[in-house]
Amino acid sequence: MFKKSLNTEDTLENAGLTVEEQQLFSNARPQAYEPYPIKAVEDFANWARANSLWILAFGTGCGAIEMRPLMTARFDANRFGVAGRPTPRQSSVFVIGGYASVKTLKRIVRSYEQMQGPKFVIALGICPVNGGMYFDSYNTVNRFDQYLPVDLYITGCMPRPEVLVAGIMELQKMIKAGKCNGANRYVDNFDWYKANQKKVIKNWDMPDYNW
């Protein structure tokens, strides 16, 4: 149904793919999330979303090390409606565990785009904010918000599990208030994000938007 966009003017080039591959992947643009027309329904949906945060199990950097205590008995994030989810399709929260190397960034973009909206991004640690420890490294990006929209930053190196819990609570508040619209920002500024991504990911051999 969504395989090909019918609107020929508004399709993506998918220039990184071979001709055969272009047949396999969609070239449609992402679509922004429209809230339900009835506010009460949207509020209720947001309440449900906030209380059921499924985190994509992708340890992109150092941050993964504090995810383990968070998800296990000591801090038991399950109490707060948080659960780990191994596949992006079912996850609603992407936790960027600190720095993102260029090679990982490509996978992060892919995984993020495969997540179904509404989706939220939490950036852990200092590295996504301004490069942090690796501000001068040739292989890690410095400002993560150039590449993907981030809803919440938690500073620290590493942020402790307690702060993660606090961050999750904060995220829940924001979702309930309907303020977490990073995914829509991504859609609205899609070309800008894509240009930034392509500026650092030099071997772009995937579709421009990974459904």
């Binding site: 904010v129 301004n130 490294s137 772009w204």
Partner: protein, 185 residues
């Protein structure tokens, strides 16, 4: 390691191979430089004859001012608890080097890394051109000393704005004694 046995071994090796710059850094570590022609045989001999059976690591040092790469093979003898660092100097300009992937199973990984990080080619080393750490790298190999990682990072990744800093000394000069100190004209 017993100093006498070590010296005997080194003497013996010296007769057979073109070895120079022998330095004993500590009782358990000696390094020397060997010419490229003899290096492969020497390393094989060390492994098979002198029981330096463990390859601790293999790496490279960039002496950009001398125009050479110094390859380092760190071999370890478990029996004598002694390590030997074998330096092999090669030119920085794309000189091809023998491969030791037939001697140790992990050697090709090191060689793949060195190809990527320094641009050194190892003859017949398997999977040499596969990406190791980098992906889509379009600059000179990053571990070469002329590669300025900070500049590169700044240009490609940028930094968040809103930062500025003063140097105390300059700041105080401007603030407190703008016309004084140092050469005025």
């Amino acid at each position: 390691m017993n100093e006498k046995t070590l010296n005997t071994m080194l003497e013996k090796l010296k007769q057979e191979f073109d070895i120079s710059d022998i330095v004993e850094h500590k009782p358990r570590l000696t390094t020397f430089t060997v010419s490229k022609q003899h290096a492969e045989t020497l390393i094989r001999e060390l492994r098979d004859r002198e029981a330096y059976t463990h390859l601790n690591f293999m790496t490279c040092i960039d002496y950009i001012e001398d125009g050479i790469f110094s390859l380092v093979y760190m071999l370890h003898n478990y029996g004598k608890k002694h390590s030997l660092g074998v330096h092999v100097n090669i030119s920085r300009n794309g000189e091809e080097v023998f491969s030791i992937h037939t001697l140790w199973a992990q050697a090709w990984t090191y060689q793949r890394e060195l190809r990527e990080m320094y641009g050194i080619r190892f003859t017949d080393s398997p999977r040499l051109d596969e990406d190791f750490c980098l992906e889509g790298w379009d600059q000179i190999p990053p571990m070469r000393r002329e590669f300025d990682t900070k500049k590169f990072s700044h240009e490609r990744f940028g930094h968040r704005e809103g930062r500025s800093s003063e140097v105390p000394r300059e700041h105080m000069k401007v603030q407190l004694y703008p016309n004084r100190g140092g050469d005025e004209e």
